[in-house]
């Protein structure tokens, strides 16, 4: 008698634990719990526990997740860098050996050298239309333009 009571108490306790942990919908309980206690859990004896747990489930159901921005997947895909897919960098022999100890500094130095060389060696070129030539002369200011010439341009 007392053993039977103990077993019943244990079952009752187990059903209460399931409602407390997994909620009021017995169909989503873990399979073993559902098989062991499902029938008992649906009886009137547990109506209060079932209703309370279901009410909380319903409230939780109103919680939503703000969706990610639509490009999240694409951003992740763009960042895929797999160890096996690493392409070895091209070899530059002596230059690579020289630059290896300070790659960032060397890169910055080479960049600066390129910009400086560009400035020093560049020659100013203008499109060869009469109008652009005129503006160029205006800009550099060492050509005087007479009123006649202006009238002539206007006539053209």
């Amino acid at each position: 008698m007392s053993q039977q009571q103990t077993s019943a108490d244990k079952k009752t306790e187990a059903v209460r634990r399931c409602f407390a942990a997994y909620g009021g919908d017995v169909s989503v309980w873990p399979v073993d719990m559902r098989e062991a206690f499902g029938e008992m859990a649906l009886s009137d004896a547990f109506a209060r526990e079932r209703n309370e747990a279901s009410a909380l489930d319903a409230l939780l159901g109103a919680s939503t997740t703000r969706p990610p921005r639509h490009d999240l997947q694409n951003r992740i895909i763009a960042e895929i860098s797999l160890p096996g897919a690493i392409i070895s960098p091209p070899k530059f022999g002596l230059l690579a050996t020289l630059l290896r100890p300070f790659p960032a500094g060397a890169l910055a130095g080479l960049g600066a050298l390129g910009v400086a060389t560009g400035f020093l060696t560049a020659t100013t070129q203008f499109a060869s239309t009469p109008e652009s030539e005129a503006y160029a002369y205006f800009e550099y200011g060492d050509v005087m333009i007479s009123e006649e010439e202006v009238s002539q341009w206007a006539a053209e």
Binding site: Y22, P30, L59, S63, I77, P83
Partner: protein
Amino acid sequence: MVNEQDSDEVLVQRAGRGDKRAAQMLVERHTDKIYAVCFKMLGSQHAAEDATQETFLRLWRSANKWKPAGAKFSTWLYRVAMNLCLDQLRKTKRDAPEEAAPEQIDHAPRPDDTYLAGEKRLIIDEALSALPPRQRLALTLCHFQELTNIEAAQVMEISVDALESLLARGRRTLRDRLTPLREELTGKMSDEPTANISG
């Protein structure tokens, strides 16, 4: 050549050998689920996106070392995301002044929100975000992500009993916090369209 029927485990092994298409399929399969867990844990769209991206970056870094012998691939991926979120929460707590709220929930309204539905969602999300992180994680995995209790316990690296304890404590706290509002909320919501539930 990968195909849609390949298991995650096959795909991650292929990705580990440099197969970009396999990696892409893993992203397509798991991004939404990982993002949803991160959002529930961190409460902000921006932080959740960052954590999701970082989860995949860690995957690419260790894809060639992944062994199918242990847990399922999805369990492993959830675990990486979980650890990133818990780290982030610890960092936020450490950096925040003591009186500040532990997390800021992203309350930007959704286009389908009516005022009252949005209000209800806000109260519930705040109650969820106020739970201790491990209780919130247990609820997120079991209730919102619908993982089995065994899978959720594996993700969290705890026993099923410990998981049940976290779930029960989390639900009890939520019930206590939300019960005074339940009638009011239910009354207010009776004419409102219910927001889609899902995590």
